[in-house]
Symmetry: C2
């Protein structure tokens, strides 16, 4: 990293000298204008065009975040929070330049309250780091978006993932936050009580706000006891409708499955190749069951009865931790497996979420359009929530392919909205889905703008994301 005096002139010209001096003085070589660092912080794992910030500030404390935001606010310079850069809708792109605050050095686990099943962490702690730390406590944090994301980033994007059907999303699992606002003031939202009726729910205002209302620096999270028994199983189906109808019946029956993941035959093939597995190349459900020994057995029997009605195969089991981890790692590698189907291609990942009764229709129509378009687009889904994902595997330099992907994506989103669903179940808006927010929420978008203006009147907090101001 370069100290401010090593700034290349072209970069330096975009930020006021006073700001450079203050942030350099504050952070030393943790404030950098190095092109490689800037480039790395302007892109995520998506197909969206990168936009490097003018500088990157690596911060170690809430007070440092506060100082950076205050300095930027005085100059009306944009501030973009950065966790691990694993987003999928361009959340960290510095569309209007500015200073990216990299929170990864804020990686301390501040307090584990085992008796209260909660934990307080700095925003840069990742979910895997937290679970490694908890390993001997008998507790775990279930929310699992696939990537080893930072917990601050997961709160900021209202992340969820495979376990959400049982344990909820970040919306349900964040008890409180420390947030630096656009004027540099610091607030603590929420608390450690399991419920409260004392005033507006500021925690939920910031969960999912994608850095547009403030910088999250600390997070208090719910924890859960590691279940006595956990078992995972794989079941293949003749058609995707059979698989989806199994999901619908399972959810409607109230069976508390911990995970219920759909992979279409395209994705299954990709996973087999990428992770050297030999699952049948058919629409497939991955299940996980959590509970007491007897409870898990009971859930399994109930789900087996439902799968049998829909032509499901015998269950392939993964009961040992090692086997389960292998299975879920293969599931988590779905995106990379999809990309490996076409070397050199890029992934355009997208997700929607619909009421469960419409899931079969939504998936069938979407897959029909993909087939007709001859696109390569494997489908996976956290289908217990009505949420599914596509990855268009494309050559971004082929404008016809890009246009087709864009057209199919738009049609899928509008299909989901027409079914009472949402344009994104968990990836968030960033700038990739900003045009769909209006279509989904109508006049309520103006209410969102009121909140944005209330917290960020100068529009310096991650501008260009979620809302057009």
């Amino acid at each position: 990293m370069n100290a401010p005096d090593a700034i290349p002139p072209s970069a330096a010209s975009r930020l006021p000298a006073d700001l450079l001096a203050r942030l350099g003085g504050l952070l030393g070589d943790r404030f950098t204008l190095a092109a490689a660092v800037r480039a790395q912080h302007g892109k995520d794992e998506s197909y969206h065009a990168a936009a490097p910030p003018d500088a990157v500030a690596f911060v170690r404390s809430t007070e440092e975040v506060q100082a950076v935001v205050k300095a930027c606010a005085e100059h009306r310079v944009p501030v973009i929070p950065f966790g691990t850069g694993t987003g999928l809708e361009g959340h960290v792109a510095a569309l209007h330049g500015g200073v990216t605050i990299d929170l990864s050095p804020m990686n301390r686990i501040l307090a584990v309250h085992e008796g209260d099943l909660d934990v307080q962490v700095e925003a840069g702690v990742t979910r895997k780091q937290l679970n490694a730390h908890l390993r001997d406590s008998g507790l775990f944090f279930p929310i699992d978006p696939g990537a080893d994301a930072s917990l601050g980033g997961m709160a900021a994007t209202r992340a969820s993932g495979t376990n959400a059907v049982r344990y909820g999303t970040m919306r349900e699992n964040v008890l409180g936050l420390t947030v630096v606002l656009s004027d540099g003031s610091v607030i603590k939202t929420g608390g450690r009580a399991r419920k409260s009726a004392a005033g507006y729910d500021l925690t939920r205002v910031f969960v999912g706000s994608e850095g547009t209302l403030g910088v999250i620096t600390e997070v208090t999270l719910r924890l859960y006891g590691i279940p006595q028994a956990m078992s995972a199983a794989v079941c293949a189906f003749p058609t995707i409708e059979d698989a989806v109808n199994t999901v619908i019946e399972t959810i409607q029956s109230g069976i508390p499955v911990a995970r219920i993941e759909l992979l279409d035959e395209v994705q299954l093939d990709a996973i087999n190749r990428y992770s050297k597995l030999d699952y049948a190349v058919q629409p497939t459900l991955f299940f996980e069951f959590h509970g007491t020994e007897a409870g898990v057995m009971e859930q399994v029997e109930m789900v087996k009865a439902i799968t049998a009605e829909h032509g499901g195969s015998a269950f392939r089991w993964a009961t040992q931790a090692e086997d389960r981890n292998k299975l879920w790692q293969a599931r988590h590698n779905a995106y990379y497996a999809a990309l490996a189907l076409r070397p050199g291609a890029k992934g355009w990942a997208t997700d929607v979420c619909v009421p469960i009764s419409r899931l079969a229709d939504c998936i069938s129509e979407t897959k029909r359009e993909i087939r007709e378009s001859k696109m390569l687009a494997p489908l996976v889904g956290h289908v217990g929530d009505g949420n599914f994902h596509l990855t268009y595997v494309i050559d971004p330099s082929d404008s016809a392919e890009m246009e087709t992907a864009q057209r199919l994506n738009e049609r899928m989103v509008h299909r989901a909205l027409a079914m009472g669903g949402t344009c994104t179940g968990e990836h968030g808006v960033g700038y990739g889905k900003i045009d769909f927010v209006e279509a989904e929420h109508g006049p309520a978008v103006d209410a969102m703008r009121r909140i944005k203006r209330a917290f960020d009147p100068d529009n310096i907090m991650n501008p260009g994301k979620i809302l057009r101001m």
Copy 2:
């Protein structure tokens, strides 16, 4: 009800003639200035001083609410939403006069989506009305604050109650809202998808906002399948610490109890007398277990083992629906039973909520102070959430008693806050706890004020509640 031409001059003088004419023209005899109706709408079930509005508007549609709010906004006349008037912190008191909007005529159940486990209702539908409607569907709505409150009011106050330990509060169970804002615009928040990452969580902004940001006119709620098996049991303990420690271990073990309610010996005695029951006059837990037959048996065995370690009595069972209803009706009548201990007295009901590890300390210290003060104040609690209630049974004309109740209440709240808890787990702020909000949230109260100003710049929406502006 009186039509505008029957307005008593003293009341009429407070509202502009133009407003009276418009609202009278709009609603006919559903707009009234009758003293008895106004008086009834200015008070709730608490000890707080009543404050009647200048007029009451009984509305039948979102459009009518919109018209009333628009008319009031033009004259900067306060608007106070009213459901069933069963609040406990003075939420409906018209502290600055104005027009109360009574939503009870908006009592239509708009759509039950059995397959998606959700329902859309008008704000005036009560929870008992909803559950009666659902009876044949195999579904139910679990949130149960005791009173047969309106679902709009429950959303507005972020209500919870006995089932929250298993099913969450209104925070977790409201999927979406229709809200009339202070300028008369109408927004729909949320949607029917189980999760969404598409923009700010407006639903959670309005849940718990107590009418200070807008008038909730429709609510979409989660539903649950009625469990295959339900069983309730009563267990007495030698000391309140034994009972509370049983609760703490049960929660920490992750046993999914549906209800776990504490009653101290004073409350138990009151209930025995009021509901003609013969429970042992000891600190007591009321349990309810939901699940499959086998699952309920398993939960019962685990909880029995914990109670035995803490000197708990044998379980007294209520397994038939009729017996369970009797048991929970007795629990719900706790407040009236407390009042009946001292004929002519009033109840000062208050609640706090703390992290579960501090629950025994918080309750023990609170009860010690009550004993020392010689006050009559039975204790009940939704203790699985760390939430408990006191009812000071007092003579409001006795200033010494009132001062003692106030002092004890303040000490209890500050004790809960010092333990990482909240000044109210479920009753809300109203105007009764407005001074504690600042103590609990500190600088975050200013962030709440930003939201209030963003949605209600003229402070006409239920002014004087939650926040001092």
